[in-house]
Symmetry: C2
């Protein structure tokens, strides 16, 4: 059962029914963060416009075109051109996307949305678009935060958005080979439900889990919250099928091959610019019996970082491992309210040296009861060597319970005039401290240049032997006159700082439109040239998701 | 200290000083295997010709060309054109290569060998070759068994072989980031010695370890004997630099990125057809304290296979895990002599059901004493559920001691008129039985069509959650009149059988010339088209290792 888009928030994150409601339930936080940013957030109210209140660009396909498109896609039911469908496929869910939606400033929308129900229909749509020179934007859950699904074409061609969410079947279940095959448009919960019915799971849980699809995860190289244990989506990918304008690419279905370049990790990350992923085979495992997560307090971010690196180096595959920096630790405590600080006895810890720089980490794993107990104990023992103090399981339980809630925060803070932006990178362990400092300082400087303050915090997640992901969150008071113009230099300051330290422009969100200018720092001119050449071989006229990732 | 090629066997495997000497030391095995093949192997003697006894094709570069080449490569000392150097760079070490060397039928040799000592010299050589339209064949240890280093060009251009083994320095040691950077021409033992001096290791030990280089491992997507624990070379690869005719590709130096296609697993496996790998950063780990390996006897190959799959599924990362089929088990026992059978009490086991179909497996790992004991015990317990009987550590010790010796066997058996060929594939677990049967039957049928018998055995190694490598060994009596003509249909029969079951044409040896015709079964026409396009972007005139892997 796919996500019912009617019940989702058309101009923000997730379900309409879910809200943080800071004004009503957490005024103490609005008071505090307003103080940090120098505004009265409690007194501010900037709600979104109504969806029907704005006009979308005219549809550039005529009735005959649309009839032809419907026929290719599988019939009239597979075509949408109404206002709401166009709005729901007009943007992803990045901060600038949400700005534009909330203000009704939607300057591009698909000329048509098609919803093919099988690969044959996907092929027919791509062949038609190739023939007519229409652009095709593949669209899964639409949760891109990098401008990855924007229905625009630098060449100005009409744009057909290809919604994959009817490709949502479990196609094969092969427990003997520890893998299963799914239609690429299946949402996270449906995929896990199909496996859970057999006692198995994939274990890939990005924060967008409920609103993103298997194909989207692959196209944008997603990482899940448990990827330390199970691997990122690229590690879980066994094989896939991609429909391109020149034909279908089917990658090899087997464990490991030495026969030439590996196509799966090359197609993963093409973000729809090579074609449409229609199905994928992924590695699965029997549902673990239990999980256990503990919170650990470190006196400083440096010590916490060293502990995480040591835990990975010891070969412990923690499914959950996350270290908040001192500002994030403080921010979440403020959000929980003063009572929480007392509950955790944190005030008392100040005396023991866990003061203003204290950082909370979560460490946990899943498996059999024995394994889980032993591995968490080993991880906590390593943490102790770096002055980590166990806080027990209780703070970790809250995080686990609320792990899909955080993205909702942004919309409610926008109601109070506060922008929440995120950016993540990955670097070798030795560069964590430097990149954190530089990104923080660059954000502060960019905000200051606009006469504003910024509140910046970060956490480590997705740790590897050779390095880690570092995820930044920043909050600042929105310039209601020009939120996009205000956002751009801040975004650029972050990206510049990241690449200065050799960080990737994205650890798990992709490139899209927003990171494209910085891709050359990572791939180099020769790398980009190779990728573009490969794209040209399968999409010679550049109709697939034009403008994103890389040009022909 | 690189390998001294003077001390290596110019027409076979490894060191000149190492021999199996079946005639002298293991006549019982020659008697037995001769019986299997219907020949008198003991009475047969077919030694190789002398290296000076044959003439190589004339050098097609004149003195001015050679002077220019030497200048580009770094001086006169970086150029070789003598008979011996040309012979040593004329072929790899596949069975047909060895046939041709032993018979002095070397129809192609490099017009010159260059040995650049730094990347600048590699760039200069490639630019010169690009300008003059000379082919360039990158050459590391020269241990290719797929025709990967043959100095031939379908277009008939002069061929310069670029020997990388002077690019053999440790460039960076970064324990904090669990990685180190090396020149790509460093041999396995030198690389491990450099790390061992610091208490670290890479842990990548292909059977060619002593005679192959880091760059060769990456170019041909090597797997080591301990790759179950540490990963294949592609998993260990953090970043690399490749000099192409159009410029240098430098991949991103960091753990994991979502920014577009991953270039490392795409360049790994290009087999010199895109350019020359000059350096690579690889994941390393502190040297483990200890290792432990046990032998386990299974009553059948099917039960052993199920046990290996279950051990991997349980998340146990055995660094050593190998299952011989019943014919391999019998063959190694015959090689050890009748005494060994008594030592192991195998005759008695027949009564317990471990009869003609019994299969020996080795299961082991390395790490701390505690971990190793626990994990091996867990693996043996899983084996027990599949009727695996522990034989203790003693048979495993012999294997570990002799693990680099097996490739020598081929030369000594050739002296007795017996060819030993190998071929490996990887398939999902569910196809192991079928592919083993079909490959066996196809080899027998191909030999029978030539009026011969073949002795065929197999083992599993390199196991993954989703499948396993299966490695075949076959022995047959050589047709002295036309060994290559005899070999070709046998090779084709194996490759046809492998791809019939969806197996990869190579799990860890690559494609080269020998497997090229079967690559399309794995990559498909669209996959090949993409790879060729990417190659064309960096090597537009196809001068890099022409004829191998893929054409422009």
């Amino acid at each position: 059962m796919a996500v019912e888009r009617d019940k989702t928030n058309w101009c923000g994150w997730g379900w309409q029914s879910m809200r943080y409601d800071f004004h009503g339930h957490r005024p103490h936080f609005l008071r505090w963060i307003g103080g940090q940013l120098g505004i009265d957030a409690l007194a501010t109210s900037t709600p979104p416009v109504a969806m029907d209140s704005f006009v979308l660009p005219a549809i550039r396909l005529d009735d005959a075109d649309l009839a032809e498109l419907a026929a290719a896609a599988g019939g009239q039911g597979a075509l949408q051109t109404d206002h709401k469908s166009r709005v729901l496929h007009a943007l992803g869910r990045s901060l600038p996307d949400v700005f534009r939606l909330r203000r009704g400033e939607v300057t591009a929308a698909p000329d048509a949305v098609v919803l093919p129900a099988d690969e044959a229909a996907v092929i027919a749509v791509l062949q038609l678009c190739r023939r007519r020179d229409w652009a095709v934007v593949p669209f899964g859950g639409g949760s891109s935060v990098v401008g990855g699904v924007e229905p625009t074409d630098p060449k100005g061609r009409p744009v057909v958005t290809l919604d994959t969410t009817r490709l949502d079947r479990m196609i094969a279940f092969r427990p003997e080979d520890q893998c299963a095959t799914f239609g690429a448009g299946i949402y996270g919960p449906d995929l896990e439900a199909a496996l859970a019915a057999k006692g198995w799971e994939l274990g890939h849980v990005p924060q967008s889990f409920e609103f993103s699809t298997l194909g989207g995860w692959i196209a944008a190289r997603s990482s899940g919250q448990q990827s330390n244990q199970y691997g990122d989506i690229v590690d879980l990918l066994v094989s896939c099928r991609m429909v391109t304008p020149e034909g279908v690419i089917a990658t090899w279905d087997g464990p490991v091959s030495a026969a030439g370049p590996d196509l799966d990790p090359f197609l993963a990350g093409t973000e729809g610019t090579f074609g449409v992923i229609t199905e994928a085979t992924v590695r699965i495992h029997p549902k673990p019996a239990t999980h256990r997560i503990q919170a650990v307090l470190f006196p400083s971010f440096a010590e916490g970082t060293a502990a995480l690196a040591a835990i990975v180096a010891a070969g412990l595959r923690m499914s959950y491992m996350r270290l908040s920096d001192e500002v994030e630790t403080e921010t979440y405590l403020k959000m929980s309210g003063p009572k929480r600080v007392q509950d955790m006895g944190l005030s008392a810890l100040r005396l023991l040296g866990y003061g203003d720089l204290r950082c909370v980490a979560l460490v946990g794993t899943e498996g059999t009861a024995d394994t889980v107990d032993r591995e968490v104990a080993e991880a906590v023992a390593i943490a102790k060597k770096h002055r980590g103090l166990s806080l027990g399981a209780s703070p970790a339980k809250n995080w686990h319970r609320d792990r899909y809630l955080h993205p909702y925060m942004r919309d409610d803070l926008l109601d109070a005039g506060i922008a929440t932006e995120t950016h993540e990178t990955a670097v070798p362990w030795s560069r964590v401290a430097a990149v954190r400092e530089d990104v923080r300082a660059s954000i502060m400087a960019a905000a200051a240049a606009q006469g504003r303050k910024a509140h910046v915090f970060a956490h480590l997640s997705h740790s590897y032997a050779t390095g880690t992901c570092i995820y930044f969150v920043l909050m600042y008071a929105v310039d209601a006159a020009d939120p996009l113009g205000q956002w751009r230099p801040i975004k650029a300051a972050i990206c510049d700082a990241v690449v200065r330290h050799g960080g990737t422009i994205s650890h798990h969100h992709g490139v899209g439109l927003d990171h494209k200018a910085w891709l050359i720092h990572e791939k180099g001119p020769m790398g980009l040239r190779m990728i573009a050449a490969a794209r040209r071989a399968v999409d010679p006229t550049g109709i697939c998701n034009p403008g994103k990732l890389i040009d022909l």
